[in-house]
């Protein structure tokens, strides 16, 4: 086709019809994917074809497609990643602390305080009637129950600690899978881009993986000219083009004997990833610090109960001789009733000199809960209230952080969605435009056809 004429006018009209058809196709694709998660709205970039230069000026040659592009906003995307990471972190913390609250019995079923109360009540009961075998047996029962409650709660907390460790490991595996998927998509995107196409849908898939990754950990991305995306977690490159630097879980022991679980990357000299946000950070904080901390406080309470009760009880005298220890063990897990006492309730000492009616020791032990013993600054009850108050504070903190963060993430998502999402009404309106444009071009074809018919009729 060269020169100016009716045929070239026909070409112009056809280019318009082509573009309209393509645009309609893109709109169809948008409408079809309106509900696809992570889908970015695509649009046809249209330009005019280079004009034909003739002696008296330039004449347009119609429209042409400059490519299908995808709506995106990197700033909002990064915001969403950052906020999602915090959400993942708070979700992990909140969920675990909920479990801790459940284990402790919450508000209405406070297992430790109830067992402590029953223990002190049993001693009061014995002080009322030191000759009663039943009252003595009640002390044995309450002692065993107190120890058992501590054992069970500690074992449940240990289970939570193990669960958080397992979850952390599972998340690391997930992260590696996601990073591999990103690297894989990087490779395909680079290959397709080299062919001159923009692989929008592959890029959407990659974005979807990155969105999922955001809840797990905070990261930044860097898009290269070839279309691939590098991923950095806390400043360390984990995906470079198609290469993945996988995370590994490693456990170490701290100076004070605690177990610490970390994720590292690199081979010979592995570097610890300092997670700051995301589910990984949350679970790591729970399993390395919070649950062990809660258990340590529980141990402290248990060992104080054991020590203070034993100190008094050993100063007692029974018909069988001098007082023995009432509890064995020195922590929540090891606390137990002295087997000898469990088997012979006559070893329960109510008094200090073996006289049957002497109830002075029973009263003193019964008062251990509320009174501050010499040499200590807090009563056992106070210790417990501080402990439970601390757990409640953490629980409240992460509960409110979580509900606030849900709103923040939602609004970040809405803003991003506003940039890249599909509005069907908008697409339909565009469809009308291109439909009409197609019709108009078709009319031009008919007009040219008529003109050509006229021309042919003359011949």
């Amino acid at each position: 086709m060269s020169g100016i004429g009716l045929i070239s006018a026909l070409d112009v009209a056809v280019s318009g019809m082509f573009v309209s058809q393509m645009a309609t196709q893109v709109i169809n694709h948008n409408i079809a994917n309106a509900n696809t998660p992570g889908y970015s709205r695509q649009f046809l970039r249209i330009g005019s074809q280079d004009p034909l230069q003739v002696t008296y000026g330039s004449i347009g040659r119609g429209a042409t497609s400059l490519g299908v592009e995808r709506a995106q906003n990197d700033f909002l995307q990064q915001q969403l990643v950052d906020q999602s990471a915090l959400l993942g972190d708070y979700t992990a913390m909140d969920g675990t602390l909920r479990s801790v609250e459940e284990v402790l019995g919450g508000l209405d079923n406070d297992r430790i305080r109830t067992a402590m109360g029953e223990f002190f009540e049993a001693w009061q009961g014995l002080s009322l009637d030191t000759n009663s075998d039943g009252a003595r047996e009640a002390v044995v029962g309450a002692t065993a129950n107190l120890a058992r409650q501590f054992n069970q709660i500690d074992s449940s907390l240990a289970q939570i600690e193990r669960d958080t460790r397992d979850t952390f490991e599972a998340y690391v595996t997930d992260v590696n899978a996601m990073l591999n998927r990103v690297a894989d998509l990087n490779g395909r995107i680079v290959a397709e881009s080299a062919g001159g196409h923009r692989p929008n849908d592959l890029m959407d898939q990659r974005q979807q993986v990155l969105d999922a990754l955001a809840e797990t950990t905070r990261f930044t991305t860097n898009e290269r000219g070839d279309g691939s995306v590098d991923v950095m977690i806390e400043g360390r490159a984990v995906v470079t083009r198609s290469h993945v630097n996988e995370l590994r879980v490693q456990e170490s022991t701290t100076a004070d004997g605690g177990r610490v679980q970390e994720a590292v990357f690199g081979g010979k000299n592995p570097v610890v990833v300092p997670f700051q946000a995301g589910a990984l950070a949350g679970y790591q904080r729970m399993s390395n610090d919070m649950v062990p901390g809660i258990r340590a406080q529980l141990d402290e309470l248990a060992s104080e109960i054991i020590r203070r009760v034993n100190d008094l009880h050993e100063s007692g005298v029974t018909a069988e001789g001098v007082g023995v220890s009432l509890f064995n063990g020195n922590s929540a897990a090891t606390m137990s009733i002295n087997e000898a006492v469990a088997n012979n309730n006559r070893l329960v000492a109510a008094g200090r000199d073996g006289t049957p009616g002497d109830n002075t020791l029973a009263k003193d032990i019964a008062n251990l809960g509320a009174t501050v013993v010499d040499g200590h600054d807090r009563s056992l009850d106070d210790m417990y209230f501080t402990f439970i108050g601390g757990v409640a504070n953490d629980r409240g903190l992460y509960d409110s952080l979580l509900s606030g963060q849900q709103g923040i993430v939602e609004s970040a998502r809405t803003r991003l969605e506003a940039e890249k999402g599909v509005n069907i009404d908008e697409e339909l309106a565009n469809l009308v435009i291109y439909q009409r444009s197609y019709e108009a071009n078709a009319r031009v074809v008919r007009a040219v056809d008529e003109m050509l018919a006229t021309l042919v009729g003359i011949i």
Partner: protein, 511 residues
Amino acid sequence: MRVTNQSVARNLIFEISRNYDRMNMYRLQVSSGKSINSFADSPRDIGRLKRFDALQSYNDQYLRNLTNARSKLEAVDTSLQRMAGEVAGLRELVQSQVSEGITNADTRANVANQVRGMRESFMAFANQQIEGSYLFGGFRNNRAPFSLVGDEVAYNGDDRDPSVQVGPTLELATSVSGDEFMGTDAAVMAGTTELRPRIRAGTQLADLNAGAGVAMGSIEIRAGVDPPVTVDLTGSATVQDVIDRINAASGGSFTASINADETGLQIVGPQPVSVGETLGGSTAGDLGLRGTTTGTLLVGDAIQPRLDASVDFAEMRTLDGELPLGTLRIVIDDVVTDVDLSTANNLGEVRAEIQSLIPDMDLLINDGSISLSLDRDASFRSESPPGDDTAALLGLSGEASPTRSFQVFQDVIDALEADDTEALRQTLVEIKDVHDHLVGLNVQIGGRQNTLDNQEAVLMEREQTLMVERSRIEEVDLVNVATRLTFAETTYQASLASAAGIFQMSLLDYL
């Protein structure tokens, strides 16, 4: 801003679920009646709620202990009454024997046997038990405290009284140990005058309440309709410290000082004053200040320190203007001893003066009064020589004889069997003493029962306070929450309806 279908849907779901959560929260509050249902609902209140739980359970325990103490005291009370009844019966029998003067040996033997029977039932009451523990055995309460060995009664208990805890700082003895009415050969005459030292600005708080001290915490003072003032007294050491702290906190609306009797504190205000505890405390009660006055002067209860041998007589208000002391006359078996106390400045010196003349007499110092005891099987009388009132001043005016509850039965039997009417007549004095002693113990038990009643009222009030405080923290304002629930339900329904509306709208309908 572009609004996309997905973000509309997501927002709707987010908002609907948030409305649903809120509605659920109010539903839970209405159905549980509590605004705090988990730690997260109000973290800073959790520790306090747990403390209330603990205080409540302790309070319940004190109430249970109190019920237990009451039943023990009632049993003690009944036994003591019956024992006094037996002794009264003995007195009637002896009186009729003395007045009728029957000398028939068979009759006397019969009467003696009757007395033996009385002793047996007296002992049965003394050996009463409740729930397997003997009432009058002291700490040795797992076997009968009294047993008859020949004609002698042996006591197998000890002299300690088991006590029960009926309040955070209150223990109450639930019995008297049997040696109290087993009797000794010693004659004891209890003094009647209150001699406790007066309260001074510099008096240590630890010495107050007969040495029991003061549990230092905060007290709440309310003057008229002004908002209550909470005064933190922790760390105070002397009475003056307490007065200073109260006055510093009063802002001029009331003034604390030592009361006119110097037995305790008082608070004066231009308006009626009321003093109470802050939660869980006993400071106001320990300071004798707990109470309300309709006038403007709240006079506190007596809280003086314990009496001891070294307190200078000048510190005893009852002796004001009466010093130096005069002479105490003690008559033992018609032997008169005059003890010159004019140089004595304290009770220790009085004791020394008495013992220098009567070595087996002792001056016993009780919480707030003194007693004389004679370690000899003899009666004695204490009085003042004519024109002197020293005995009355010290509360030591009267007679005492040994009280030997069981021995008195034997004395009667012996007198009957020996046909000694004079000896029989002599036993009447002893019988009266024993009877009085038993009645005295009974009064003491009655006093403890009153203490229990008061303490029960205190515990009940405390329980009420705890419940009110607790519900103030955790109970829902039902009207408020029910209204909010209705709102939340309406909002939820509206959000569902608008969701349905939004999804129905589409440009497709118009093309």
